[in-house]
């Protein structure tokens, strides 16, 4: 979700910059259909600038627009810094679904999956974080591989082991997960 927002805004801002710059460059080349009347005109004359100043609505609109832009930019900035972790996972919805009957602490599930992941052959450390909604959690898992690691086997074991156990023990129908495998760089020794 954040990726879509970021990419859309970056694309729009980039397109606006390209259009503005292209307008100036093209009119410098002496083409006729731009707002600038060829190379004899200036970029933004005093008359252009003051064109709307007399109107009553000009300054409030300008100030309002700038304030909105500022707030949106700040919101956008803080959206990058959040990475909310799920506090609870819903296990049993009860009959009407309005009052949850059982909640599992997010940290508990994360620790359980991480512990099972670390037991896998070749996995030195595992880091698990849950995000999403209480009823639809997602897992982000980082595995640090050690010597004698077999990456594909580790992922398979994770899928049929720790993740499957997490699903059955919480009653979730599905638990989407994204797994990243990295390795600690160690000196090249013979690993027997």
């Amino acid at each position: 979700m954040l990726a879509i927002v970021n990419r859309t805004l970056l694309g729009l801002i980039g397109a606006a910059l390209v259009l503005g710059a292209a307008l100036v460059l093209v009119s410098a080349a002496g083409v006729d259909w731009t707002p600038y009347e060829g190379s004899s005109d200036v970029l933004l004359s005093a008359a252009d600038r003051r064109r709307f100043e007399g109107r009553d609505w000009w300054w409030p609109v300008v100030i309002g627009t700038l304030a909105v832009v500022l707030l949106l930019a700040l919101w956008w900035l803080f959206a990058q810094l959040r990475r909310p972790r799920l506090a609870e996972v819903l296990i049993d919805q009860g009959e009407s679904g309005s009052t949850p009957l059982a909640l599992l602490r997010g940290r508990a599930l994360e620790d359980a999956v991480a512990e099972q992941a670390t037991d896998l052959d070749g996995v030195e450390r595992a880091h698990v974080s849950l995000s999403g909604k209480r009823t639809a959690p997602r897992a982000r898992i980082g595995l640090v591989l050690g010597p004698r690691a077999r990456p594909a086997a580790a992922v398979d074991a994770l899928r049929s082991g720790a993740l499957k156990a997490a699903r059955t023990s919480t009653g979730l129908v599905s638990l989407p997960a994204e797994v990243r495998l990295r390795a600690v760089k160690h000196r090249p020794e013979r690993v027997t």
């Binding site: 990726a3 970021n6 990419r7 970056l10 980039g14 994204e178």
Partner: protein
């Protein structure tokens, strides 16, 4: 993008750090970076620009003189035609910046994370290139005769350069190709990279 897991909980997104349009059968998908850093930098730039301009305009309306830089900017904009060299330079830089932002928005990013196959609708796994290199290097070091080996893993090819201090070079290379071939298979990547192996004697010291 919806998974076919038929979940009761509705559509779920699998990738916590991005989405991947065009998912294939466990092959042909990529990780898409969230682009937090470019977004944060752009947001800061826009916020600063809007904030400073807003502060200055409000202070002008409050009967205080505008800041010196704004008066100078207005004077400059009123004096320079579009084909002034400074204007052309500034416009070119802005054009490059805009194109850069569009490229960032459109490309996947995360070039060091190699997608692994075996992705069902729910599980997406990626292997860092450096991790693949370490795993393959450890395998290569097991081969008798190999003193040191360097493995470079790219998105399409793996290059192994080994130094063998005993045994015939050809034998070592054959063994390396076999072991690394199996090793690459065990990495489980969606796109199996090509392997190139070269072996030489270690340079004699002194």
């Amino acid at each position: 993008m919806s998974d076919d897991t038929g979940t009761l909980l509705g559509e779920q997104r699998t990738a916590a750090s991005g989405f991947s349009p065009g998912e294939g059968e466990g092959g042909d998908w990529r990780f898409w970076s969230v682009r937090r850093v470019p977004a944060a930098l752009t947001a800061v730039a826009v916020a600063l620009g809007a904030g400073v301009l807003l502060y200055d305009i409000v202070s002008v309306r409050a009967e205080r003189p505008a800041m010196a830089w704004r008066r100078r900017l207005a004077a400059e904009l009123a004096a320079r035609p579009p084909d002034d060299p400074w204007v052309l330079l500034a416009a070119s830089l802005v054009l490059l910046l805009g194109v850069g932002l569009i490229v960032l928005a459109a490309t996947p990013g995360l070039r060091t994370l190699l997608p692994m196959s075996g992705a069902s609708g729910e599980l997406r796994a990626g292997l860092e290139r450096s991790a693949a290199a370490v795993v393959l290097r450890d395998r290569a070091m097991q081969i008798s005769g190999v003193q040191s080996v360097r493995v470079d893993v790219g998105r399409r090819s793996v290059a192994a350069r080994a130094e063998a201090h005993f045994r015939a070079l050809d034998d070592v290379r054959t063994d390396l190709e076999a072991v690394l071939g199996v090793g690459i298979g065990e990495l489980g990547l969606t796109r199996r990279p090509a392997l190139s192996v070269s072996v030489r004697r270690p340079p004699s010291k002194g």
